[in-house]
């Protein structure tokens, strides 16, 4: 914004300067030309007097040498016998015409203006053919004349005006941009991964009224979000209480049943219900876990979880390998807790369904289109063909109860889901594609 303001001011001031300076330069040049022509007219009068007095040519020569001082005016006397005194001798048609007609004339010639003034000698020598002609060439004023100084002053003045305008524009731009940047940084902090609205204090800016209004509106919005989150947290606590309290009563009632068969059957039903309730409570707490933006470094989490499971792998004599093909932290749009749960489910499945010493491998790599791919594979028997492995609770009895369904939900909410297949190690392969934060 600041740059745009500066460019706009530069363009506007530039146009004004051009509109002012160009006519001024032309005017100065015209004044300079007029000044020369005035001087030339005076010189013509004086020369005419000298020539008309029929002075000898030596006198005329001395006079012309004096006045032809190289200041843009060159005076020549052209006699009818073809001789001439002064610079640039030689006649042309215009000189002959001035001589014969006896009328002075002014012509534009290369580099300036030519004045031709026939000098009437009077008496017997007043025959037109014998009339001498004074030729004065007034050069068009150039930079070598006094015009340069004037131009330099104008250019300096223009530059000073331009620089002054740009500095002023920059100062005004800063007064706008600074507060807007503060508000933008505040908004960015609010949206940064790992931040909650509580972590970021309200923004206070000192700038234009509109920006102050914007900051105040943003602060009100943040306060509103905080209120909503607080309400959500309270509601979640209430949901947990309202769901788990009757579950407790149910458990206790089932425990009190006399029939062992009924007790076991109802307990099994309650187990399923409990798993569902836990999943609902867990999902309702997502925003509390993740903050405003879910993010975690998949590279760090994968390394930590593989290290954690390595103890059991070594105890079982099972090679567990981590292949890290990332070059930098792989920040994904998934909370650390969810990613840990996801990896634990996948590794748990490996340890549960691939009998030791079947090897296992976890690969993490960057995806070409952005995001991160995690592959967990083993050399076990693989997934049974045709089994709905991703369905809730279908991952086997010795599992979290939610199994790959948790993985699928996490992957779907933060990326492109998961795919299951056969690994080149010979067993199962689960590929999870997570999107960037």
């Amino acid at each position: 914004m600041r740059r745009r303001l500066i460019v706009t001011v530069a363009a506007a001031v530039g146009m004004v300067l051009v509109a002012m300076l160009v006519p001024m330069v032309i005017l100065m040049r015209d004044y300079a030309l007029e000044d020369r022509l005035s001087r030339a007219a005076l010189e013509v009068q004086a020369t005419e007097t000298v020539v008309a007095a029929e002075s000898d040519r030596g006198t005329i020569n001395v006079y012309l040498d004096r006045i032809n001082d190289g200041r843009g005016i060159a005076t020549t006397v052209l006699f009818s016998d073809g001789s001439a005194i002064g610079p640039d001798p030689g006649e042309d048609e215009r000189v002959r015409e001035a001589r014969l007609t006896g009328r002075a004339r002014v012509d534009d010639v290369d580099g300036g203006t030519q004045l031709l003034i026939p000098v009437s000698l009077g008496g017997s020598s007043g025959v037109p053919e014998r009339t001498p002609v004074i030729r004065v060439i007034v050069e068009r004023p150039g930079l070598d004349s006094g015009l340069f100084g004037g131009l330099a002053v104008l250019v300096l003045l223009g530059c000073a005006l331009l620089v002054g305008a740009l500095l002023l524009a920059d100062r005004i731009g800063r007064s706008f941009v600074g507060p807007i940047r503060e508000v933008a940084a505040h908004a960015s902090d609010l949206g940064s991964p790992g931040h909650t609205v509580r972590d970021v204090p309200p923004v206070e800016v000192d700038g234009p009224q509109e920006v102050r209004d914007l900051a105040a509106a943003l602060n009100r919005l943040v306060a509103r979000i905080q209120t909503l989150l607080d309400r959500e947290r309270e509601a979640n606590a209430d949901v947990s209480h309202r769901l788990r309290t009757p579950m407790t009563a149910l458990r206790l009632r089932v425990d009190a049943l006399d029939s062992a068969e009924d007790r076991e059957r109802l307990s099994a039903d309650l187990d399923d219900l409990q798993a569902t309730v836990d999943a609902i409570i867990r999902e309702s707490r997502r925003s509390q876990r993740e903050g405003l933006v879910a993010a975690s470094d998949a590279r760090e989490v994968v390394a930590e979880r593989v290290h954690f499971w390595q103890a059991l792998a070594e105890e079982q004599g099972r090679p567990l390998e981590l292949v890290d093909r990332t070059q930098a932290p792989a920040v994904v749009g998934c909370s650390q807790d969810d990613l840990v749960a996801l990896l634990d489910v996948l590794l748990d499945n490996v340890f549960t369904h691939a009998p030791a010493p079947a090897r296992a491998r976890v690969t993490i790599a960057a995806r070409p289109g952005g995001g991160t791919r995690i592959v967990v594979e083993d050399a076990g028997p693989g997934f049974p063909s045709g089994a709905p492995v991703v369905d809730r609770g279908a991952s086997g009895s010795d599992s979290t109860g939610l199994g790959l369904a948790i993985v699928a939900e996490t992957a779907a909410s933060s990326g492109d889901g998961l795919t299951v297949g056969r690994s080149e190690l010979g067993g199962a392969s689960v590929t999870v594609d997570l999107g960037p934060a």
Partner: protein, 229 residues
Amino acid sequence: MAQVLIVEDDPRIRPLVMKALTDRGHAVSSASTGMAGLSMAVDQRPDLVVLDLGLPDVDGTQVLSMLRAVSDVPVIVATARDDDPTLVRCLEAGADDYVVKPYTTDQLAARIGAVLRRVSPGARAADPAITIGGLRIDVPGRRASLDGVELDLSPKEFDLLRYLAERPGEVVTKRALLTEVWQQPWGGSEKTVDVHLSWLRRKLGETAAEPRFLETVRGVGVRLVPAEG
């Protein structure tokens, strides 16, 4: 037989817990509000209080703080809140143990028994730490050492070790560990227990093949035994 005070506002749960604990031989009284529970705890001097946190008049954590100001009666917090900050706050406020709803009668009774054993006059007079061979577990301080060298245990590893150490020689199933240590009586994976046991073995300087304290009973569970030699 112990005298147990149940502070629970839910009219469905309160009588069921009372009946279950009465059936197990305890003398049970109950209160449905925090202030009533506080008053009964002071007047009746029960052996143990089971305290719900979500009470209608005063929050259970405040009741716990007030109770601790006037009594050192053992308290088990029974709550639907399973978030770590709440549970840590309760333990720091003086709770002796906690159980997360929904719990079973067996689970609650087992916790009551464990707490009562821990605070029994004999146990209180002696060193509060559990010592098994070179292994010493300071339960209140949540620290453990082996042959005088302090062990660097995660909170879950400590809870696991403590639970097994409170039952030396007793085979404990992984499901029981999930229920009691992980508070996941109906979920969780036994592999989670396995991997924590592996880390615990490492830190105790043993392996599954050459156990010193932690013996795996194949197909049944695990038990903590005094190290030989």
